[in-house]
């Protein structure tokens, strides 16, 4: 048993079982029902690289307030098997409740032992567990039933009736029973929010920005970006092709992009390693391409279904030769949406490779996201540029900002010539060394434009911080909550989060670093990769580091425990 240090008013639900028991299904239904009831959520999915068996969990942290981080202590454990009980019973909070089958041998006051066999046939045990969880949380039965209907309606209409029956029985079985947990009934002024995980948000962001082509080779945790695109391909007019390998995937996308269709590839570290040659090609022939990398722990196959921020340096240095690029690192699904849009825009404007670095935690983490104003969303459209082009057309015309006007092959009488060799303004192969230098400089001039559009890091805190926590990407929520906990205990703590990790513009944040007392950098890798880049670009070395590389996401509890090793006085805050 442990006390909770995390923000008051939230509850952490953990559903555990083996692959194939339907825990993701009920996790998603519960999440959607909570969002429809007006709550914020942060989902953490932990699964093993197997389709059946093993031990998987689906954790939902829910609150009336905006939350962006998972937490460690569990308030409601839904244990679909005995192993879940033994693995997680020590994580229960003081008020924690366990829901499990009466057959499992566990005696404790806080255990709701459910006669699953009386409530449902084996195939519907997960629905019964969902129902019991709904009663413990005081959730509206009909709302859960509606979400269930929608979840199964399309594929398994026969399951709708049975699900509702099991849900009714479960609610009946618990009727009148008290719950030690706060109630999560439907809020009166529940705004309509979207239920999005990071990868869905990347897919939607890409579509809204004008992406019409995607190619990929399946690799967890990047694949679900593609599945997000595929699921809307026919109605929104996208072509998505599964390539024979990642090398083909990026070259296909470059072919489509050359022909004038904004394109994206999605993969994970190992797949991206194969794409590297194509990144260099994109740099040379100045073709826009967005590359989404959902990081997982490496090297090599590593931990295929866990999380890490270990491929920042890979993305930054990928590709032989010198050419500009931008790298975005969204902190939550909302940022995934907007930064992917920005990535598409910047890739097309500067005709360069642009990266989105996400990771397994964020990829799979559902949140309640405020609705987007679709009226205000613009999208890129390369075909619009052709009208004003001069003859003779030169694909690589030397310009002040390095950006050469784009024609598209077959869309006018201009011929569009691109070459992976060094080339002249027309695009033809050359070994004229003076032209070579002009082309290097032209390509690098685009980098200045990319720099002028860098999104500044987001500072959250008072004017000056006694303790500044620096982070990037998906750790945003955990670090922000940590700083809030520290501020609540009287410490002047602040957070500097980088949603864009390349290029860096030191003028944007040097003052914040200079004004801070102690600085700690927090990264999900073992070598402090971003800290090294920060030092190279600013000269500022942050020697206090909190690094996590066990495959799990940051939590406020983890960050506070690690901070205590540097600052013993923080122990007091942690005990609150």
């Amino acid at each position: 048993m442990r006390g909770s240090i995390v923000t008051e008013g939230s509850i952490n639900i953990l559903i555990g079982g083996e692959a194939g028991q339907g825990l993701v299904t009920i996790g998603e239904v519960l999440t959607r029902a909570l969002i429809r009831s007006g709550y914020h959520v942060c989902v953490t999915q932990s699964y093993m690289s197997r389709i059946r068996g093993g031990h998987n969990t689906f954790a939902i942290r829910a609150s009336m307030h905006d939350i962006d981080a998972p937490c460690e202590s569990v308030d409601l454990l839904v244990a679909l098997n005995a192993e879940t009980l033994s693995l997680h019973k020590d994580e229960m909070s003081d008020r924690g409740v366990i829901v499990t089958d009466e057959a499992h041998d566990i005696s404790d006051d806080d255990v709701i032992r459910v006669p699953f066999k009386d409530l449902a046939s084996k195939r519907y045990y997960n629905t019964a567990a969902l129902g019991i969880a709904g009663t413990v949380l005081g959730m509206d039965e009909e709302l859960i039933a509606q979400v269930l209907d929608a979840q199964f309606g399309r594929k398994h209409p026969e399951a709708i009736e049975e699900n509702r029956k099991v849900l009714r029985k479960s609610y009946e079985w618990r009727e009148g029973a008290a719950s030690p947990l706060p109630e999560f009934g439907k809020l009166k002024s529940a705004p309509v929010r979207l239920m999005l995980n990071g990868n869905q948000a990347i897919a939607l962001g890409a579509i809204s920005a004008g992406v019409k082509f995607a190619s990929y080779y399946p690799m967890t945790p990047g694949t679900s970006i593609i599945l997000g695109l595929v699921s809307h391909a026919s109605e929104l007019g996208l072509v998505v092709e599964q390539a024979e390998d990642e090398i083909a995937a990026i070259n296909m996308a470059l072919g489509a992009s050359y022909a004038g269709v904004p394109s994206i590839v999605a993969t994970s570290g190992g797949g991206f390693a194969l794409m590297v040659e194509g990144v260099s090609l994109a740099g040379m022939i100045e073709i826009p391409i967005v590359i989404a990398i959902a990081q997982r722990p490496g090297p090599a196959t590593g931990l295929p279904t866990r999380t890490e921020q270990g491929d920042l340096e890979l993305a930054l240095y990928a590709g032989h030769g010198e050419f500009p690029r931008a790298i975005y690192a969204p902190g939550n699904p909302e940022q995934c949406f907007h930064l992917t849009r920005k990535a598409v825009e910047v890739a097309n404007k500067y005709q360069s490779p642009v990266f989105i670095l996400t990771d397994q935690f964020l990829a799979d983490s559902f949140r309640a996201v405020d609705q987007f104003d679709t009226g205000g969303l613009s999208s890129v459209h390369p075909a619009d540029e052709i009208g004003g082009l001069q003859k003779p057309y030169k694909r690589f015309a030397l310009t002040g900002d390095g950006i050469s006007p784009r024609a598209l092959p077959g869309m006018s009488r201009h011929l569009v010539v691109v070459d992976s060799d060094e080339h002249d303004e027309e695009g033809h192969i050359t070994e004229d060394l003076a032209i070579r230098c002009q082309m290097v400089e032209k390509r690098l001039r685009k980098g200045e434009g990319i720099r002028s559009e860098v999104i500044p890091p987001d500072y959250d805190g008072e004017d000056e911080s006694d303790l500044l926590l620096v982070c990037w990407g998906s750790s945003l929520g955990a670090v922000k909550e940590t700083s809030q906990i520290l501020r609540n205990s009287g410490l002047k703590a602040g957070v500097l989060h980088f949603p864009q990790v390349w290029p860096l513009v030191p003028e944007q944040f040097r003052d914040t670093l200079d004004a801070a007392g102690d600085i700690v950098i927090i990264e999900g890798n073992a070598c402090g990769q971003f800290g090294k880049i920060l030092r190279a670009e600013t000269g500022i070395m942050i020697d206090k580091k909190i690094l996590r590389y066990d495959g799990l996401p940051f939590t406020p509890e983890y960050v506070i425990r690690e901070l205590q090793t540097y600052f013993p006085e923080i122990a007091e805050a942690g005990k609150e």
């Binding site: 579509i207 007019g237 072509v239 296909m252 072919g255 004038g260 269709v261 011929l415 070459d419």
Partner: protein
């Protein structure tokens, strides 16, 4: 009316006597005979002496990376099926570095014409064995002779039921131009393996060597007979059959994307109304 001059004349970096000259000439003839203007044509190539071909003809050009021609051609064709996509590269680029892409392209049957300048040697890197070099072929890099068996692209393509499988010889320009024209008009993948001597680095498979062996398929040959085509595909010795060895009417890959029925992908915008409806489903 398209004329030969529209495709231009350019100085090349090829050795005098190289088979590439004749292939370039035949290609231009075929394009003119097909009635295609330079702006309607996309030439895709990789790296190698053959891969320089697109620089010596007026057209749209994507001269990409070694081995990666077919993925680029596939992406461009899917983006804009109105483009007439022609891939030109050598045996090393097409069958070696690009081997996996070659197999996948045969499976897809996308409507591109693939001209492989097959000289059975690496020319640009000065004479190492290529995937189509015969077993035992001695080079500076393979002094004990090529230890691997030669790749048979025709047999693989027939086995994979590629849409159009042909072989020709750079020394028979009119024949080659005719085959290329047929390949361009074929609605599906057209593989044309063109035997072409490397005068600098292949002293075995010379112009004369090919000339003595290449013979046109008989007039009554039926390229739709796959069993017969498999037998012809195996012939590579004292006689090398030249012509369209196999063809079928498998639908082209790009026709299987429903969204492309509405026209090319290029030029389309995101339909924000439809997008808004999609977003509603995430509530």
């Amino acid at each position: 009316m398209v004329r030969l001059e529209d495709y231009g004349e350019f100085e090349t970096a090829w050795c005098p006597g190289c088979g590439n000259f004749a292939i370039l000439k035949a290609l231009k003839q075929a394009l003119v005979a097909s009635g295609l203007g330079p702006h309607e044509v996309l030439m895709v190539s990789g790296i190698g002496q053959a891969a320089k071909t697109p620089h010596y003809i007026s057209a749209n050009v994507f001269n990409g990376l070694h081995g990666r021609t077919l993925p680029v051609a596939t992406g461009a064709k899917l983006a804009n099926p109105d483009l007439n996509v022609i891939v030109t590269s050598g045996d090393g680029c097409s069958y070696g570095e690009g081997g996996n892409h070659f197999l996948a392209a045969l499976r897809r049957n996308i409507d591109v014409t693939v001209l492989v300048h097959d000289n059975q040697i690496y020319g640009l890197t000065k004479g190492q064995c290529s995937p189509t070099s015969e077993e035992g072929h001695v080079t500076k890099a393979q002094p004990e002779g090529n230890r691997s068996m030669a790749f048979n692209p025709i047999a693989i393509a027939v086995a994979m039921k590629a849409g159009f499988v042909a072989r020709s010889f750079s020394g028979m320009t009119e024949h080659l131009a005719g085959v290329i024209q047929q390949g361009i008009s074929h609605k599906g993948l057209a593989l044309i393996d063109v035997l072409s001597p490397c005068v600098s680095f292949n002293k075995i498979n010379t112009h004369k060597w090919y000339k003595d062996r290449c013979c046109e398929l008989p007039e009554n040959y039926d390229p739709e007979d796959r069993e017969q085509a498999m037998l012809k595909a195996e012939e590579f010795g004292d006689k090398i059959p030249i012509g369209v060895i196999y063809r079928n009417d498998r639908p082209a890959f790009e026709r299987k994307f429903r969204t492309l029925d509405e026209g090319p992908l290029v030029g389309r915008k995101c339909d924000m109304n439809a997008f808004g409806k999609v977003l509603d489903r995430y509530t």
